[in-house]
């Protein structure tokens, strides 16, 4: 019994991460990244209650305006307000991140845990299938999906999500393997707790930190993938605001109206940087071993 009681105290860094990390120092990456992420979230939320003009509406104004008082970020070739598109495009950016990361985490995490908890052929099968999927480039998979099911944001992001499953499965498995060796899990198994119970009660809380970090990094990858697909004309379809699509549409006027490419390009770069920094910051914050580095 003493072993079991003692277990939580020895609960490795993962346990600490899931529990109390409030005392940790907030690092610059986390602050800057978190700030940028917050701005993107705020832009998206604001777009639901207010936009300067009707989203995607062709206006009776001059095209190619540079930023001015009427149109804060100018107007595009089709006389649409750029700032409005940036606001509404933030929704797409977050949407793609959530869909892709959602798909990847919902499938990848259980697979990783399954692999860690079934050391026999099942675990092998899961991880080897994972390796096969890992060999498949995410963008290629998305392009294939677009060819099969037509270009749409959701289809593209499900494809990106599927391609990101291995990342989640691996990181979950490696974290879970560590947890499975801990004394309290050994004890729980000895006490006859069901595998599902162990997974929910002990494994998931202990690998949550790892997953959150991975999610943040994958979020950035998804944003970039959406932009790349929209740039190829395969992602977000016409009539929907997306930063990648804005960039795509700006390419024919790159020389005469560079701001139309710079604005969405900057937004994409900044948000990708933001989510990456946020992921790094979270990792440092959650991982005591790195503290003080």
């Amino acid at each position: 019994m003493s072993e079991i009681q003692g277990a939580p105290a020895q609960g490795l860094e993962g346990q600490a991460a899931a529990g109390g990390s409030s005392g940790r120092r907030l690092n610059p990456s986390l602050l800057i990244g978190g700030g940028i992420v917050a701005v993107v979230v705020v832009l998206a939320l604001v777009s639901y209650v207010w936009t300067p003009y009707t989203p995607m509406r062709v206006l009776a104004v001059e095209p190619y305006q540079t930023p001015n008082a009427e149109h804060w970020l100018g107007t595009d070739r089709l006389r649409r307000d750029v700032f409005t598109q940036i606001l509404v495009g933030a929704r797409t950016t977050l949407y793609v991140g959530f869909v892709a990361v959602g798909v990847a985490a919902l499938v990848g995490v259980p697979l990783g845990i399954l692999a860690a908890m079934s050391p026999g052929w099942l675990g092998q099968l899961v991880m080897r299938s994972n390796d096969v999927l890992l060999a498949f480039p995410a963008l290629l998979l998305a392009i294939m999906f677009a060819a099969l099911y037509g270009g749409s944001t959701r289809v593209a992001m499900i494809a990106i999500g599927i391609a990101t499953i291995p990342a989640f499965a691996r990181i979950t498995r490696s974290g879970a393997l560590g947890v499975m060796k801990t004394e309290y899990v050994v004890a729980a198994r000895a006490a006859g707790r069901s595998p599902l119970g162990i997974a929910v009660r002990h494994v998931i809380p202990n690998v949550a930190g790892l997953i959150i970090v991975q999610a943040s990094v994958s979020f950035a990858i998804a944003i970039l993938a959406e932009a790349a697909l929209a740039y190829l004309g395969l992602g977000t379809p016409t009539g929907q605001a997306s930063w990648g699509r804005m960039l795509y549409e700006a390419q024919t006027t790159l020389r005469s109206a560079p701001h139309l490419a710079l604005i969405p390009g900057g937004a994409i770069a900044l948000s990708v940087l933001g989510f990456n920094l946020f992921g790094d910051g979270l990792r440092d914050w959650l991982d005591p071993k790195l503290e003080g580095r």
Partner: protein, 534 residues
């Protein structure tokens, strides 16, 4: 199959450009003597000191140079055989350049002019056409072009050797006979106004009786150029035909370079990798070429950008009031200014200004938002949801966005679906008619009857009234043809069978000293014979 044809062409024919070869055909006799002589040498411009002054003053240097001109295009042909392979890229490359036809079209007036036939007579009953062929014409392998070759070529169209659907254009031909070496007699089963015009297109191409064994890879014709090399995926080279029967072309060779997209094409022009952009695919990018370093050629095409409306029973647009509302709700000038940089022409119906039966029908449904709203109210269609399913082509995507905004201003709900072109668009819109509205450019010459002649076609119009007009137009006299087709165009416009957004412009960019570029692109070919560096 016409489906495939129309649509593959939409993309590539937008790029198809034509030049004024026919003018050359007309005054050929006067100037032949001077140029055939200089073929062997390096050309008079390079060598001859005396007449260089004239050469630079008048645009095309008659003797020709040993220079190669590089032309940028967007659609590479799939094969060289347009008798069995659809697609506009093949005739664009080969027709009028390698293969010639008996008659051709004047790109300025739209009239039919002599080519390999110097003249033709039509019998009283309009069933027999007697062509007098030009004497002394040879194929590039040296064999003579005679009426026998012409008869062979035309008869071959009706045989199983030709498989493309366009061959039906010569279904009206009953018999073809080579009377003597330079006289060809064609008998029709019924009078047809479209017959002579059909001869100007690929079905009228003249082949050598001995030269049709490997059409996919070899092309043997009488034209100013011969087929050179094909570097697949990159370029096709045509070389000057040293024995050409007419004024020899200026350039010793032509490199047709194929690009995947508009930007790559533009960049090639800006970096001097090509001398001519055959068709500017993104008119908003023209600003890059303004300022004197390049010349910009702007003319018209046959490409009517049609906003089709599915009027089959049960669809919202079966209601004529609603279709009329759509036409009133669109400010065509603003639309063209916005989505195609103001380049192009407003037409109002299915006939370009280069067709003899063209009438300006833009006044039928002037932009009138109040009237549009009134009509929508009458139809009880406020807030009706319409699916605008467009192909993923630059003009359709840009203009679709503008149409959406304009119709929503009038109180309709529009959702845009961008369908991959050609496959997805063809299946959904063209074949299954699962759409309310679509946007596509119909680029074939004189295609009003094809596009609006049948209720089974994707435009779902083809009323009996209009079908009768088309029939009367083809069998009647030429005057009747013009009158009946003008009437048909009026009817199509008034019935709001579709909306006609605008006519695609012919936009070319070239080095400032290139001459002989066609203003209007209304033929199937990109006629290279007149190109020169002035």
């Amino acid at each position: 199959m016409p489906a495939m044809r129309t649509s593959t062409k939409t993309r590539s024919l937008v790029a198809a450009v034509a030049v004024t070869a026919l003018l050359a055909g007309c005054n050929a006799g006067s100037s032949t003597s001077s140029d055939t002589g200089s073929q062997d040498g390096t050309g008079s411009e390079a060598e001859g000191g005396e007449d260089t002054g004239d050469d630079t003053a008048q645009a095309p240097a008659p003797g020709g140079s040993d220079e190669t001109v590089r032309i940028g295009l967007v659609a590479e042909p799939a094969s060289l055989d347009f008798t069995t392979t659809d697609g506009a890229a093949i005739p664009q490359l080969l027709l009028d350049n390698v293969y010639e036809t008996l008659v051709s079209v004047d790109v300025e007036s739209g009239e039919i002019v002599p080519a390999l036939a110097t003249e033709w007579e039509v019998s009283e009953d309009r069933l027999t056409y007697t062509f007098t062929l030009k004497d002394g014409v040879t194929f590039s392998d040296g064999s003579e072009f005679t009426a026998e070759d012409a008869a062979f070529s035309l008869e071959r169209v009706s045989s199983d050797a030709w498989t493309i659907s366009l061959k039906s254009q010569l279904d009206v031909v009953e018999s073809v006979e080579a009377v003597d070496d330079t006289t060809l007699e064609v008998t029709l089963s019924r009078p047809s106004n479209s017959f002579l015009y059909a001869l100007t297109t690929r079905v009228g191409a003249m082949f050598d009786t001995e030269g049709v064994d490997n059409l996919a890879e070899e092309a043997l014709g009488t034209g100013p150029y011969t087929f050179g090399t094909w570097d697949r995926g990159t370029q096709i080279t045509l070389e000057r035909n040293p024995d050409y029967h007419d004024e020899a072309p200026y350039f010793a060779a032509v490199e047709m370079r194929y690009f995947d997209d508009a930007n790559a094409l533009n960049n090639a022009m800006l970096t001097d990798s090509i001398d001519v952009v055959s068709t500017v695919q993104a008119p908003e990018s023209l600003a890059e070429f303004e300022g004197g370093d390049f010349q910009i050629v702007e003319g018209t095409t046959n490409g009517e950008v049609v906003l089709s409306m599915n009027q089959e029973e049960g669809n919202p647009l079966a209601d004529a009031d609603l279709r009329q509302a759509v036409r009133h709700a669109i400010d065509h000038q603003a639309l063209m200014d916005t989505c195609w940089a103001g380049r192009g022409e407003l037409i109002g119906s299915m006939a370009p200004p280069t067709d003899p039966w063209y009438e300006d029908r833009t006044g039928d449904y002037p932009f009138d938002l109040a009237r549009a709203e009134e009509l929508i109210a009458e139809a009880g269609a406020e807030g009706t949801e319409l699916r605008l399913r467009i192909p993923s082509l630059p003009y359709a995507v840009s203009c679709g966005t503008v149409v959406e905004s304009m119709l929503e201003d009038a109180g309709l709900q529009v959702t845009i679906d961008e369908l991959e072109f050609p496959a997805a668009w063809l299946e959904t819109v063209f074949t299954n008619k699962d759409f309310d509205m679509s946007i596509v450019a119909h680029v074939e010459p004189r295609d009003m009857a094809n596009v609006f002649g049948s209720p089974d076609y994707y435009t779902t119009y083809g009323t009996e009234q209009v079908q009768t007009l088309f029939e009367e137009a083809d069998t009647g006299t030429e005057e009747e043809q013009v009158a009946k087709l003008a009437e048909a165009a009026t009817l199509i416009s008034e019935d709001a069978a579709a909306d006609f957004l605008f006519l695609l412009p012919n936009l070319m960019v070239a080095d400032p000293d290139i001459t002989g570029l066609p203003t209007n692109a209304i033929k199937e070919s990109f006629d290279l014979g007149e190109l020169a560096r002035g």
